[in-house]
């Protein structure tokens, strides 16, 4: 998941669609995020590259909408509804996820196990 500055970022991503749950006045998604370009990347327990300032999922409420959609702890969120999440501040990410007018968020997330899965499937000879 490390990136080379100046080169486009490539990653294996999974599409996850989460329906927001209405709780009183708020629409909640059921997970917590950490990271952002204004945060300290060295303290991120989930990132491989400690200079990675992307948005990571730090906690999932069990039984919440994110859990039901298949989001896992430690995922890096690359896109939310088409908006880029690799170079945003923490507050911008929060605001993009919690837009009141949107009922559903479509995330593109990446995790280490996805890459390994793809590598494994590519190493099997075609039959």
């Amino acid at each position: 998941m490390a990136f080379i500055p100046g080169q486009p970022v490539t990653a294996v991503v999974q599409r996850i669609e989460i329906q927001k749950l209405r709780q009183g006045d708020n629409l909640i998604l059921g997970f917590s995020i950490g990271g952002g370009i204004d945060q300290d990347p060295g303290q991120n327990p989930f990132s491989e590259d400690k200079t990675d300032k992307g948005i990571y999922v730090t906690r999932i409420t069990p039984g919440g909408p994110a859990d039901a959609a298949g989001l896992m702890m430690g995922d890096k969120i690359m896109q939310v509804n088409g908006w880029d999440m690799t170079m945003v501040t923490h507050d911008q990410a929060r605001r993009t996820l919690t837009k009141k007018k949107e009922d559903v968020v479509r995330l593109l997330v990446t995790r280490k196990s996805l890459e390994e899965a793809v590598k494994q499937s590519m190493s099997y000879p075609r039959q």
Partner: protein, 527 residues
């Protein structure tokens, strides 16, 4: 025109020269440019003569031998003569002349008026009390105890009034201002009217009718003295207290080198504000040093000297204004197109000068520190030394001065301060520093940086005569945007005033217990 014009530094008229060396150089320069004109045909240059004070030239001009064929024969230029004067001498003579004549008669006139008014004011209550006894003593009621008590009160109030007037008004005048001081004049008129009206009342109701009630007369005198004390209170408020609260911020800029200072003044008239500013000028601004301006003047002269302007249309053809306008525009355009490398010269010259100053300064500091180690204060136990070895401060200064004299002189020459300090003043300062146990650094401080004008000898305060140039009347008050000039012989001070804005302050209370902090770890937001 092959003959060269030569110039000698001295003519056969001059013996020793007392004046400055500069005269010879200046006249030599002028002669050099003239001879250049006569010889070459191509470069007809328009020379503005280098900016020189006019007063200095008059001493030299009278002695030059002007010939009709000056380009073709050898000429001798007198550089200096026995009776040459330096620039400062001439200015000082004109100053002295102007000082002795002039405003003295006005000062004495106002002084006599003030004294007459004062006497009138003081003698009036006494006259009120004494006149009934003189004019109709037999019909007068005798003075009871209350009345005699009032005598004491009159006496003490008069004494207080006397002391107060002495404190406020009988101070040596600090300056002669161009116009009359408006508030003082108003107060004098008020007091005069007041006293006159009391006299009128007294004359009509008491003297004419020969009133017997002496107690009433005494009370009348007491009321006069009370009212005079209140007028004195009014005088204090108008003359002293009103301008204490700062209301305007004035910006004072010297025209020769742009040194700027800002001061806060209260509500004053323009002439009083000018006086306050001048008093600040003498202790805040560094001394005016004309030698520092010569470099930029020579650069300006070089700029003008390089351009040639031809009048092709002949005189009287176009309107004079249009012609001059087009000429100046042509000159500016030519100057802009010319590839000028004078900025390069300036940069390297300044860098070189900086280096030289620092080197000389280092040598000077070392020399002075070494010189100071040769002396020490004599302790009491050492009184057994022979009296020949013991020196007083002046002798001690003279003893150690030669070892630092050369380094100091070179440094002063490099920073162009040599005319501000004479040998005598340097030795005096050295003796002063030795007496007061100062370190070498303290001694040197007054030579390393130019100080305020007060620091130098009295003949540097040449401009005790200042001219106030103002578009508004000088007795009108300061307003926002007032601009006036204070001119003396060498330079002028440009003063601009701005009103201090109205400040709206509000408060915000912070509870001391509200200062709480948390550690910032990776922040996590739940969505």
């Amino acid at each position: 025109m092959d003959t060269e014009s030569t110039y000698s530094g001295y003519s056969y008229y001059s013996g020793r020269s007392r004046g400055s060396h500069r005269h010879g150089e200046r006249s030599r320069d002028r002669h050099k440019t003239r001879s250049k004109d006569s010889r070459s045909e191509k470069s007809v240059t328009i020379n503005t003569p280098p900016a020189e004070p006019l007063l200095g030239d008059s001493a030299v001009r009278g002695e030059q031998v002007q010939d009709d064929n000056w380009g073709e024969t050898t000429t001798a230029v007198t550089g200096t003569s026995e009776h040459s004067l330096s620039q400062e001498d001439i200015v000082r003579i004109t100053k002295d002349l102007e000082d002795s004549v002039g405003l003295d008669c006005r000062r004495y006139f106002t002084l006599t008026l003030a004294v007459i008014l004062g006497l009138l004011v003081f003698l009036t209550p006494l006259a009120f009390l004494v006149l009934p006894h003189i004019l109709w003593p037999e019909r007068l009621q005798s003075c009871g105890t209350a009345c005699e008590g009032l005598f004491i009160s009159v006496a003490f109030k008069l004494l207080i009034l006397l002391l107060a007037v002495w404190a406020l008004f009988f101070r040596p005048p600090r300056a002669g201002l161009p116009r009359v001081f408006v508030f003082r004049a108003l107060l004098a008129v008020l007091v005069l009217l007041f006293v006159v009206s009391y006299w009128l009342f007294y004359g009509v109701r008491i003297l004419d009718s020969q009133d017997e009630n002496y107690q009433g007369i005494v009370q009348y005198a007491v009321s006069l003295v009370d009212a005079l004390l209140f007028i004195h209170y009014l005088a204090i408020v108008l003359l002293e207290l009103r301008q204490l609260q700062p209301c305007f911020s004035v910006c004072v800029m010297r025209s020769t080198d742009g040194e700027t200072r800002h001061y806060n003044l209260g509500q004053l008239s323009i002439q009083r504000a000018a006086l306050a500013i001048l008093e600040h000028y003498y202790c805040d601004f560094s001394v005016h040093n004309p030698a520092l301006l010569s470099a930029s003047k020579s650069r300006a002269a070089k700029h003008l000297a390089g351009l040639k302007v031809y009048n092709v249309d002949g005189p009287g053809n176009n309107a004079a204004a249009g012609l001059a306008h087009s000429q100046s525009r042509a000159m500016i355009a030519a100057a802009a197109r010319r590839r000028d490398s004078s900025h390069n010269e300036l940069y390297y010259e300044e860098a070189e000068h900086e280096r030289r100053v620092r080197k000389r300064r280092a040598r000077l500091v070392v020399a002075v520190e070494e010189a100071f180690t040769h002396i020490k204060r004599m302790q009491e136990e050492e009184q057994k030394k022979a009296p020949g070895d013991v020196m007083d401060p002046r002798e001690a200064a003279q003893a150690i001065f030669p070892s630092m004299a050369r380094a100091l002189q070179k440094y002063l020459r490099t920073t162009k301060q040599q005319h501000c300090h004479s040998m005598e003043s340097i030795q005096q300062h050295l003796a002063f520093c030795i007496t007061n146990n100062m370190t070498p650094k303290a001694f040197l401080e007054s030579y390393l940086t130019p100080g305020p004008t007060l620091q130098y000898s009295r003949d540097h305060w040449l401009a005790r005569q200042w001219t106030l140039i103002s578009e508004a009347s000088v007795t009108s008050g300061l307003k926002d945007g007032t601009v006036f000039l204070l001119k003396c012989v060498d330079f002028s001070l440009v003063v601009t005033s701005k009103k201090i804005p109205y400040i709206q302050m509000s408060e915000e209370y912070i509870d001391p217990k509200s200062h709480k902090f948390v550690l910032r770890l990776q922040s996590e937001t739940s969505v």
